[in-house]
Structures are given as structure tokens and as C-alpha cells.
Amino acid sequence: MNVIGRNNVHVRGSGSRAMVFAHGFGCDQNMWRFVAPEFEGNFKVVLFDHVGAGGSDLSAYDPRKYSTLSGYADDVIEIGRELDLQDAVFVGHSVSAMIGVLASLKEPGLFGRLVLVGPSARYIDDGDYVGGFTEKQIAELLEFLEDNHMGWSAAMAPSIMGNADRPELGAELTNSFCRTDPEIAKAFARVTFTSDNRADLPNVSVPTLILQCKEDIIASTEVGEFVHRQISGSRMVVLDATGHCPNLSAPREVVSAMQAFV
């Protein structure tokens, strides 16, 4: 399967510049449904699912490759090459903020601007650095994921794979936006919450916008400010939105902050 099918890539809108939206841990490209359409007038909007999520090709899930964020960043680069993108805007939510940072460092020229929504360079506390979580809490999360199968069952899997756009499956697809193979969900949680990209941040040279929510337990304001300090010249906007998903809870605020930046 090619990159487009593998990552369930959708390209919409018109414009000479591209804007690539990357979803975080939890759901899929649907996370951008209230934000991405706003940019279709001026941008070539690129949406995709990370391998293992949404309508991606689950058979392409390689546990070794995806045991680091770098593996996910390689996919972003491949998508960029396939679509011949240059100087594009990368918009990454949650863990995809760091995936975008890595992709921009690995493939200079691919992204001209970064929008990091709720970024965190490291989730686990480390000495003076406050990530917000202890190792024990993350271990607990991995176990907890076993308890929530999100309606996933082996019998359903074949109809889920690659069929996210088929409305006739709608009735059966409760929770489908966030449906993930539990093993993959666990692996993605592990790579997300044990990642440490603090050393990469100072190398970022493209203009960067950080969108920070209030009362975000996944990526606190402190964590966002750390990213802001480490990426020189970056801009940080603290949204009125609360929680970790302003792209869903406060799309208008997100859109206007982004419009001012791009």
C-alpha cells in the first residue's frame, strides 16, 4: 500500500501553500473537523491518520518502527515527499507537536512554520523539570487502557480497517472516532508518554506558534512555557479554552490564533 493509503491521507482545499494537520494520542484526523475546513480557502489542507489510528492501514503497523516518535516523523516526511510539499505549515496536536518538530529537523525545507497545540517535550517529571506525571502514573495508564477496548473486538476489526468513511457501517461504529486496536493504543501511549524531546527544541529554527490551554492536565501551562522558552523566537498564545483538545472544544479560538500566525 502506498503512503496515501497507509496513512489515510486526505487532501482538500486550494492554495499554493500546504497545511498539514496531525492528530495526537487518542483519536484520528476527525479531531480537526472544526478547524481544518476553515483553512481550505487559502491552503491545500492535508489530513492523515498515524499508522495504527483511524482509517490507517493496520497491517503497516510495525512495532519496532513505531516504538519511537522518530518513526512517526518519518511517515510525516514520506507524506510530505509524496505530495511534494515545501515550506508547508505543520499543525500538530498533543504528541504530534513533537512529531512535527522531529520531522522539521530531519527534513529541512518541508515545513516553513509549526503550530504546536498543547505540546509537551516530556510528560514524566525529571529532577527540576515538571512534566506533570510520575513514571508510576504512566505505567497505570498502560494497564488502564486494557480496561477500555473502545468497542474493539477481533470480529469487528476487518470492517473497521480502512472503512472510516463508510456511513453504512455507522450504526455499528460507536466510538469509532477513537477506536484503536488495544495493543497499538498501548504501544502509542507508551511511546507518547515516555518520550523526551527536550534536547530537540533548541534546534528548531522555523517560526513556531504554541497554543496553550488552561487547565490542561496532559500538557500544563508550565510544560507549554518550557517549549516556548526552548524554541527561540516562538510565539505562545494562551487560549481561554480548558482541557487538552481546544481543536474540538474551542475551534474558533484556535482558528483565529492560527490565522494571525500564518
Binding site: G24, G26, C27, L141, E143, D147, M150, E215, I218, L248
Partner: protein, 373 residues
Amino acid sequence: MNDQNPIATEDLEDLFENAPCGYVTLDAAGRISRVNATLCTWTGYSHGHFAGKRLHLFLNMAGRIYYETHIAPLLRMQGFFDEFALDLVTESGDRLAVIANASEKRTPDGALVSTRVAMIRATDRRRYERELVDAREVATTSLKSERENSELREQFIAVLGHDLRNPLASISAGARILQRSGFLQEEKELRVLDMLNSTVTRMSGLIDNVLDFARGRLGGGITLSRDANRPLEPVLEQVVDELRTVSSDRSIETNFAITEPVNCDRARIGQLVSNLIGNAMTHGAAYHPVQVGAKTEGGVFKLWVANAGEPIPAIAMERLFEPFFRGDVRSSRQGLGLGLHIASQIAQAHGGKIAVTSTSEETRFVFTMPTLP
């Protein structure tokens, strides 16, 4: 109708407060605006303690992460969620396992009014589910290690079989040189030479079986090179002759009538009949000849090997063709238990099969295959 609406007679306030499940209502900003008494009792918190707080504060940390990354987005996207397993943390710090459903209430123009969450206690269910998950993990792990072990074992067998071939070839060549040189004259010496040849033949048959078995297990399977044009009978005669030479104390009677061409791998059919005769000699009564027959009739090739002696016990019948299965025999006569297994594999590769009948009079193995499959 004089009957009163039963719903109207129900005290709805009481139904909400003391329902057999926990209720939480969140306002448009996601803050708790109301909880019922049941949830207060379960958690040990007062109504007032919940007011204005975010729901995830009452979950354990893993649940908070999950709520923020999965549940909240899902609720926003599809307007409801069903069947989430959550752990509430009670006032005393204990965990309370619940299954939660929720739905959003929106105005006609789509603005969020509130979100209602219902929680059902699920302690036993969750414990049971966790045990299932743990059991699956144990099963998966042991299956994986078992597979690795068995692959290693089969690779070992393949290497062993292969490495045994060369020294055996040297022994065989040495015996041939001795025979040709005429150096050995005494009858006793010649008997030793016969014995040597017999052992080499027997061992080479065993090694062939071992290698075929290992190849089969490692995915190679039995490979055939069929040839319908060349006669099969001389091959069978040769196998019988060899076995007669190496087991001069045993008698083998043959009855061959192959009149139609048989599209088979002749060397493989030779190996099959050799294995069947070897089995008959090991298990059959020594005083009685082994009967070997082959014929073609109406497009079917049929080959049989029969011996007298004790019948095969019913319990052994079922496992006869399994690898490494050995019946009750004197240890000196034991082989690896691969002969019948390989014979049946060869039969299957030819689209045929081996049937067995065993009575106190006779034990008979019959191989049949289509002459032109």
C-alpha cells in the same frame, strides 16, 4: 382511562437522587452542576464538594489522561459515549470501578447545554475482565515460547540429520571397499560385513525420515518429482531385495501386478513401502512372512503390507501416524517413530491415503492413490 400515568406517580426527584446508579450533570463548560445522592454515598463526597469541579478530578490519573485524550473528544464528536470503564477515587482514597455512559444535550442550533453522565458500579465485572486479560497474556506468552522451542527443536533435528549423513556415507564406502577387495574370507567376517551393510541401510532410512520430517515441520513439506512413464515395479522389487538382504532371518513374500502407469515419485513410493515393511518387521511376528503387494485397478494404485502378530491396540490406532509415536516394542527394536508418519505424508503428497486394519489374524496397511492424479 382512570389509571394514573405510573411515571407521574413516581417521585422523580427521588428517582434521580436515589437511583441505583450514579448521575452527574456537567454544564456547557464541562463543570459539574449536579450529582445525585447515590454517587455521593459511593464516593463519600458531599453534593457541595462536586459542585463546579471538572469530572476528571474524581478519576485516577490514568483515567484523567484517558478522559482528556479519548472520552472528551469522542463526546464532542459524536454527542455521546457508551461503556467506558472508569475508576472513581473516593474520599478515603479507594478506587470505585464504574462503567459510564454519557450524552450531550444541545439547543436546536447546536449549542451545548449540558452533558449527562450515568455510572454503574462494576467492581466484580472489572475484576473478571482483568482476569481474562491477564489469562490471555499468559496464554499468548506461553504459546510464543512454545513455538520458539518447537522451531528450535526442528531446526536441530534437520541439522543433526544432515550431519549424520556424511559419516554414514564413509562407513558405507568402507564396507564396499572391504567387500570388493576380497580381503575378508572367513564366514564370520562376511557376516560382520553383512551386518554392517544392514545397519547402514537401516540408518540411512532413519535419516531420510528425520530429514523429511524436519523439512515438513519447517515448511518445506514433501516434494515430489512425479514420472508416469517409468515402471514402478522394479523400484518396489529393489526395496524388498535390500530389506531381504539386511534382514536375512525374515521372509518377505511379494505379489506385484502393476499394469497401468502410475504417476508418482518412484523414490518416494519406495521410501513409503520401505517404511511400511520396516514397521511390519518391527511389530510383526518373526515366524510369519511379511506380505507385500501392489496392483493397479480402474485408475487406482493400491499397495499393501501385511504381517501376523499381536493386533495394534485401539488406543494406539488413533496416534499411529503421529510423529515420534512408538508402540510398545522391545527397546532394541525401537526407531524414532517417524516411519509411519513420513509414509502418511508421502501418501498425502500423492493425493492418496493409508488405511489400517488390525485383527488377531493380521495387521494390514493399505496405501491407495489415483494412478493419474
